[in-house]
């Protein structure tokens, strides 16, 4: 093969590779090491004694075999999937709705709304959860009190007792915490939609619904894809909200999602090998779930 034809190539220098080193090192330390460790652990019988220095025993695929035969894993996985999809869809719908609304708001109102959302977004998770937990408290919660005052007897009603009601409360909290991110990102994207296009569409007689469907949404499609992808990932690995609510009430076994299940197996029960196996299962699930998104994003980039 001859490569002499064509413009002269720039001289190769090691500098670009050198510049990659810090980022690569950070990735290796922060992502590579834990991931490698997780994979190793998943093939070991690694309990508390190993955590404090005993040599672990290799067990091959035993962890996975035991896991995949356990119907509880499939229950938890299915539950996590449904929870994730419902939350991602609701968050996206409310977030995009708010972003569209923000375009038509008077400036002071918009700033008020944005400040409120920013506060919700910036609030530390545990502080948020403490407040939500108090709101929904069985005996002293404001929500029960308000409903009772309004004439519906909710005195002493436990919101966390029934798994469906538990997940309703969890959904409210998760959506409340993630909507600001979606709303801000989509609003930023909306400000980039070409005015000329919209005007042209209007002149051609397109109604507002048609303009939204045919002009606005396609223009912000890349942003929607990224936001949707992130939501799916975040809502699948939701942990803190579920964990804190489980301490407050509800039935742990009926409300475990993948995140809390891994925690209860590993940190709670000291079976790190098994917990890692579930974590890998969850990783595979995430990849499968997000593959269509990533595929669509790659295709979009190819088109551009």
């Amino acid at each position: 093969m001859s490569t002499t034809i064509g413009p002269p190539r720039p001289r190769r220098t090691p500098l670009p590779y050198g510049l990659l080193v810090p980022a690569l090192a950070a990735l290796l330390v922060a992502l590579g090491y834990p991931l490698a460790r997780e994979v190793v652990l998943a093939f070991q019988d690694f309990g508390l004694a190993q955590q404090f220095g005993n040599p672990p025993e290799w067990v091959g695929l035993a962890n996975f075999r035991e896991l995949l035969r356990d119907p509880y894993l499939w229950t938890v996985a299915l539950r996590s999937l449904v929870f994730c999809l419902v939350n991602a869809v609701v968050t996206l719908a409310i977030g995009v709705g708010l972003a569209l609304l923000m375009q038509h708001m008077a400036k002071p109102v918009r700033i008020l709304l944005q400040s409120g959302m920013l506060l919700a977004w910036a609030m530390p998770v545990v502080a948020t959860l403490t407040v939500w937990q108090w709101l929904f408290d069985t005996q002293y919660g404001v929500i029960n009190w308000l409903l009772t005052e309004a004439g519906i007897d909710y005195a002493g009603h436990s919101w966390l007792l029934d798994p469906l009601s538990f997940f309703f409360v969890a959904t409210v909290i998760v959506v409340w915490m993630s909507v600001p991110f979606v709303a801000f990102t989509v609003y930023a994207a909306l400000t980039q939609v070409s005015e000329d296009l919209l005007e042209a569409a209007e002149i051609d007689g397109a109604g507002s619904a048609q303009r939204l469907r045919a002009v606005v949404l396609p223009s912000i499609r890349p942003v929607l894809l990224v936001v949707g992808l992130l939501q799916v990932i975040w809502d699948l690995r939701v942990f803190t909200q579920i964990f804190v609510l489980q301490q407050a009430g509800g039935t742990t076994r009926d409300t475990n999602l993948l995140g809390t299940y891994i925690y209860r197996l590993g940190i709670g029960g000291g079976d790190f090998g098994m917990a890692s196996a579930v974590a890998i299962f969850m990783l595979v699930l995430t990849v499968l779930l997000t593959a269509p998104y990533i595929w669509a994003m790659l295709r979009q980039e190819g088109e551009d």
Binding site: Q51, R253, G268
Partner: protein
């Protein structure tokens, strides 16, 4: 304005202190190192919850720093909730581990059998030897090696409102069946508020609930020649769980899925006739900030009575202290533990209603009703099963789920069988 200045001053002082202690520990690292660690260091002690009175904390810090010039002792308060999880991660890291930790006596076996604590067998005699609460020492001993020593004991006993009991024309029960009837009657005598509890028993509270199982002759799990199996579906256990269910449904107004943290809140709201709580809760109730001194004056106490009229077998409560095996300051940590088991320190605990770690100091509890209830409750107390996988059982919250489902009126036999089935693979590690 003034408040702001004080706050700013406090913040500055804290900053200065942190900076100082940072300097301190920096210079320590250069000190001569022996096998037991450097001669001076900052010793971190983890104490849990509000159990240890402030007076004892102050004494420990001052005395330790006087006796070990150049060293400091910092008490870091941890939450009981989630303690095992936190210790699992903290104790395994040489740079992050606290030097001395307090741990619930039933949680200790998880760590002693894993090698997380230093061997204390050599110091056992100096720390109190045979005078130490033997059940606690046994619970922390693996193959003849002691890895933790008792810190204090304190089984739960029943607090009740003397005024409400009088109004309802009831008297202090002396047997288990009288106790259950009294609890139900007390609830019926107080229809308002709707969530009033004749006996306050939140759904997740298996640590109180297990007393009814044991009293009926049942158990959580049994050991058949080295193989542990769940014993909740035995007829005796089921009878005990049914007693608990009667209390849940007919006597308790507590949330059916709630936990037993903060019993002072419903008590101070006037919603509790009787409740089972550790002795130090009295301190919270007497404190105007956390409790309600007015209502606290009307409190009487007794040890939960068993079917035979003797104190019922309640869960043996209390704490151990241990030294983290990964701590670089073994010698200093031992000195700190010696102080915590000294007569002076244990006296402060006893005066605050905690059963001291040494038998010879029990008389310091006094002879009022509280002391008598404390001693009576401890006299028949039991430990959770010594199964190697017990921590896994607790970690997966099987028992919280079981009692919460019973509280909601579920079929006891069915639920017990399900819980056994869930525990069986976990129990043997």
């Amino acid at each position: 304005m003034r408040i702001k200045k004080t706050l700013a001053g406090a913040a500055l002082a804290t900053l200065a202190l942190t900076a100082l202690s940072a300097c301190g520990s920096d210079s320590d690292s250069g000190d001569t190192k022996s096998e037991g660690g450097p001669a001076t260091a900052d010793i971190r002690v983890w104490l849990n919850g509000a159990d240890t009175p402030q007076e004892a904390r102050d004494w420990l810090k001052t005395t330790f720093e006087d006796q070990n010039p150049g060293s400091t002792l910092t008490i870091e308060e941890q939450q009981w909730d989630g303690l095992v999880e936190k210790l699992t991660t903290a104790l395994s890291s040489e740079s992050e581990t606290p030097d001395v930790v307090e741990i619930g006596n039933t949680q200790a076996p998880t760590f002693t059998s894993a090698g997380a604590f230093s061997d204390l067998s050599g110091q056992l005699a100096d720390l109190g030897g045979d005078d130490l609460l033997q059940g606690f020492v046994d619970g922390a001993t693996v193959d003849g090696t002691a890895y933790a020593v008792p810190y204090y004991a304190g089984s739960k006993y029943v607090f009740y409102r003397t005024d409400l009991m009088d109004q309802a024309g009831l008297s202090v029960p002396t047997t288990m069946s009288e106790f259950v009837d009294t609890a139900v009657a007390l609830k019926q005598a107080n229809p308002e508020p709707a969530n009033f509890s004749g006996f306050w028993l939140p759904g997740q509270d298996w640590r109180n609930g297990v007393a009814f199982v044991w009293d009926a002759g049942g158990d959580l799990a049994t050991d058949d020649g080295g193989e542990w199996t769940g014993a909740l579906e035995s007829p005796e256990s089921i009878a005990g769980l049914e007693t608990a269910q009667r209390l849940f449904t007919e006597a308790s107004g507590a949330p059916k899925d709630g936990n037993e943290a903060d019993p002072q809140t419903p008590f101070c709201a006037g919603e509790v006739g009787m409740m089972s709580a550790p002795g130090w809760v009295m301190g919270l109730l007497n404190d105007p900030k956390t409790g309600c001194p007015d209502l606290a004056e009307k409190i009487g106490v007794f040890a939960l009575p068993g079917t035979d009229g003797q104190p019922a077998p309640v869960l043996l409560g209390g704490s151990d202290i241990a030294i983290s095996a990964k701590s670089p300051n073994q010698d200093l940590a031992q000195k700190a533990i010696a102080l915590m088991l000294s007569d002076d320190y244990q006296t402060i605990l006893a005066q605050n209603g905690l059963t001291p770690a040494k038998n010879s100091l029990t008389s310091l509890l006094g002879d009022d009703a509280f002391a008598q209830a404390t001693i009576a409750a401890a006299s028949n107390a039991k430990l959770t099963p010594a199964a190697p996988g017990w921590a896994t059982v607790e970690g997966s919250r099987v028992l919280e789920d079981l009692f919460s489902a019973i509280a909601q009126g579920g079929d006891v036999a069915e639920l017990a069988a399900k819980a056994d089935e869930q525990m069986n693979p976990q129990l043997n590690g």
